[in-house]
């Protein structure tokens, strides 16, 4: 009997979580402003309770999916009994309502993590941080309960079979991409909460930067991973081998990433030198606001996009109001309190501080430019001036040069010193890496392609520049040590985190430059026996075979690949028909490699037994995601630095 009520239990649990979040938002906050220890002490248990009930609610929805309870509207429209169990579970976040519940769960999990992991923070700070998390949670719980509950029922008559999960989403990439991305988005809520708590308490010393840093780095690492996974998924699943489309929803995740990247660098300056405080607070507010804006853009359906689920004006309005409250409220607080922030030290015009400021300005400018390109069509439309879209050339024309400038400063930044750096000293340090980077970059480009295409050359030179200036910095650190190897182990984890992340940038740049310029693609009509050659590879089409899957039927192309005339591999691209909805889906065949991917996708059947076939050669495409992974590990490594866990010792040493 109890199993009939699981969706209702899920809804009750969510309502209880809302009640707890209201308590969490109010009680510790009042306690902190009155100095009431008892009230502040409620913050941790309330956070735990909020997480528990959100988890119960999420498990209830998962249960409904696992046991095919099609009386639940959301389950019926996103699942099917023929789906394998793991896709039934990942279908929980395959639609709007469920992905919001996942969002709420992750928010509660971050709140719980802050509650558990921050034993050594002053109690009034932790009470305020958790209370701010409570405020954010209230918004999301109300959003789910009032506009998009996943537990609504079809009563009395309900369908016997579900409408199936969108076939594009029946894939490993979808199982992992949204949770990782949300971990990043929601993680910035923690940085936001720390910034707001610092503003509220008026204790705007550098200490909050140290508390906030590991959380921000972890959030940034997850966001990086989420974006990389999304790009990888689009590459192999959408069937045309693109890895970044400047799609508004991709932009929605890129914007918080850019500001988040600025934030982790700015936090470093604030922690080490006690300057840029108000700027850092502002970045923390913007990073989270952009995460919310991303949610608004995706969920309100105002955009034409791959990700636009069924849209609803009411939901859009709700998020818009929430956005206005968060941005307006926090900026108001900022305006009142920012005047009290004082720099604790000064710095010269040429110093690590000012170079990091340049990095921040470049990142924020590129974010603003992405934002403009993304919302410009919305503004023009709202003003009734017509329908338009902004194409990738706009983004490429601005983003690529800005990033090139940033890479130049990246190399200078890592070798510069805090407080004051002399130009002569920088030149003395960097002339060798600079010359070697140019020589190696040109040589590598020439060896690879036999020509010097300007963007590729610039990209490779800059990648070498980033790597070599990092090597120079490492050499400086070890120069005065007698035992070089022992010196290597003495460097901190945050340092190695930075090295890994910067290396990731270099790897990413190489991948972007080569795959953008030297990809080869041919769309052609192929009859059994036809062949086509790319570089040393020859693709021979041997016709199609019929294949049956669990919930689809498929035409599977048989393609033999020869390398220099010898048998190399076989590739089997598919054209699938998902029977529940009658959806047709392209399943590309990929032969991955470290320096190149072979990519074959079937188009459509043509007359006379022929098929339209798309054959692609993608050089160094894996380096894109390898770079993303390196950045992710860099962020996590930096966050795991033991010094963040030793507050007393660290303050004493500083």
């Amino acid at each position: 009997m109890i199993d009939m009520m699981v969706p209702e239990l899920g809804e009750y649990a969510l309502i209880l979580a809302l009640c707890l979040s209201i308590l969490l938002a109010v009680v510790p906050m009042v306690g902190a402003s009155r100095g009431n220890e008892l009230w502040m002490g409620f913050a941790r248990p309330l956070s735990k309770g909020m997480f528990l009930f959100t988890l119960i609610s999420f498990l209830c929805l998962s249960w409904s999916f696992l046991y095919n309870d099609f009386s639940v509207v959301y389950v019926a429209s996103n699942s099917n009994s023929a789906l394998p169990w793991y896709y039934r579970l990942s279908a929980v976040w395959g639609g709007h309502e469920g992905s919001l519940l996942l969002w709420a769960l992750i928010l509660a999990a971050w709140t719980l993590a802050v509650a558990i992991k921050s034993r050594n923070l002053p109690q009034d700070i932790i009470a305020r941080v958790l209370a701010v998390m409570g405020w954010v949670s209230i918004g999301f719980y109300m959003f789910i309960l009032f506009t998009s509950s996943p537990f609504e029922r079809y009563l009395p008559g309900f369908p016997q079979e579900g409408a199936d999960l969108n076939p594009l989403l029946q894939d490993f990439g979808l199982i992992v991409h949204p949770p990782m991305l949300y971990m990043g988005y929601v993680g910035f809520a923690v940085s936001f909460a720390f910034a707001i708590a610092a503003l509220l308490s008026g204790r705007l010393d550098a200490a909050w930067a140290r508390w906030s840093r590991p959380w921000t780095s972890v959030a940034w690492a997850f966001l990086t991973l989420g974006i990389a996974l999304g790009s990888w998924w689009a590459y192999y699943e959408l069937g045309w081998g693109g890895w970044w489309f400047w799609d508004p929803v991709e932009n929605a995740s890129l914007m918080p990433w850019l500001v988040g990247t600025a934030l982790i660098h700015s936090l470093a300056v604030t922690e080490k030198r006690g300057v840029f405080k108000s700027w850092t607070v502002l970045l923390a507010i913007f990073a989270f606001s952009l995460s919310l804006l991303g949610t608004f853009l995706v969920r309100s359906g105002v955009l034409t996009s791959v990700h636009a689920f069924a849209s609803d004006p009411e939901r859009g309005l709700f998020i818009l109001i929430m956005l206005a409250v968060v941005i307006g409220g926090s900026l108001l607080l900022y305006a009142i309190r920012a005047g009290q922030m004082r720099s604790e030290s000064s710095f010269g015009l040429l110093s690590r501080e000012s170079l990091l400021l340049v990095n921040n300005v470049l990142l924020v400018v590129s974010c603003a430019m992405v934002l403009l390109g993304t919302i410009y069509p919305l503004i023009v439309d709202a003003l009734g001036l017509g329908k338009l879209s902004v194409g990738p050339p706009y983004f490429n024309a601005l983003f690529v040069p800005l990033m090139a400038i940033m890479l130049i400063f990246m190399g200078i930044g890592v070798t510069s010193r805090w407080r004051q750096t002399e130009i002569s000293q920088l030149v003395q340090q960097l002339w060798l890496p600079g010359v070697v980077a140019v020589v190696l970059g040109i040589a590598a480009t020439w060896l690879y392609s036999g020509e010097l295409q300007h963007w590729v050359t610039i990209g490779i030179v800059l990648a070498w520049w980033v790597v070599l200036s990092g090597v120079r910095d490492l050499y400086n650190r070890l120069r005065h040590r007698r035992e070089k190897l022992a010196g290597l182990t003495k460097q901190s984890r945050s340092y190695y985190g930075m090295v890994l992340a910067h290396l990731g940038v270099a790897v990413l740049v190489v991948g972007v430059a080569l795959v953008s310029i030297y990809s080869e693609q041919r769309d052609l009509r192929m009859q059994p026996g036809d062949s086509i050659s790319f570089r040393e590879y020859t693709f021979i089409y041997d016709g199609n075979r019929h294949v049956e899957g669990p919930n689809y039927t498929s035409d599977q192309g048989q393609i033999r690949v020869l390398r220099n005339g010898e048998a190399y591999t076989e590739m089997h691209p598919e054209k699938r028909l998902y029977t529940a909805r009658g959806n047709v889906m392209t399943e590309a065949a990929i032969d991955p490699g470290f320096t190149r991917d072979l990519y074959v996708a079937l188009g459509e059947p043509l007359e006379g037994g022929a098929w339209a076939v798309r054959v692609q050669y993608k050089p160094y495409v894996r380096w894109l995601w390898l770079g993303g992974l390196l950045m992710t590990f860099g962020g996590l490594l930096a966050a795991s630095d033991p010094r963040y866990r030793k507050r007393r010792v660290a303050t004493a040493a500083a």
């Binding site: 969108n166 594009l168 069937g239 045309w240 359906g301 034409t304 791959v306 636009a308 069924a310 849209s311 609803d312 000064s346 015009l349 000012s354 400021l357 300005v361 400018v365 603003a368 430019m369 403009l372 390109g373 410009y376 069509p377 017509g386 329908k387 338009l388 879209s389 902004v390 194409g391 050339p393 706009y394 024309a397 601005l398 800005l402 769309d523 052609l524 009509r525 909805r581 009658g582 959806n583 047709v584 889906m585 392209t586 996708a601 188009g603 459509e604 043509l606 007359e607 006379g608 339209a612 798309r614």
Partner: protein, 153 residues
Amino acid sequence: MTPKRKQRLLVVMFIVVGVSVAVGLTLFALNQNINLFYSPTQIAAGEAPQDTRIRAGGMVVDGSVKRDPDSLFVRFDITDYDKTVTVEYTGILPDLFREGQGIVAQGSLNERGVLNAVEVLAKHDENYMPPEVAEALAKAGKMPMPEGQEFNK
């Protein structure tokens, strides 16, 4: 001016110059790269410019899709149920492209009033209709019902 103020002034000037250059470049790039959307009715009325990159959207007319037997060339008509525009495209059409489906084509009009498409977009959900198409149809009073409600759910 004290050295500190001088330094601040320099920083502020650096930011102001940087931001204005960025804004200028941005607006320039934006103007070069916007693609305006036109409905078949607007194109038939001659409102759309020739030889400029535009977007056009509508429903693919039943029975209008003609393929060249020897290549990937394809020709089809799109309509807002008022006027019709012919689209020519060479390449692979998206999975959800079919007759009766709402699509958006990106390309330029030639002197015959035919859209030479470089890209054809059909979105990833069979109930989904590009908002531009839905609005163009609604304007022409030709929104298909009852599917129309499904599109907006």
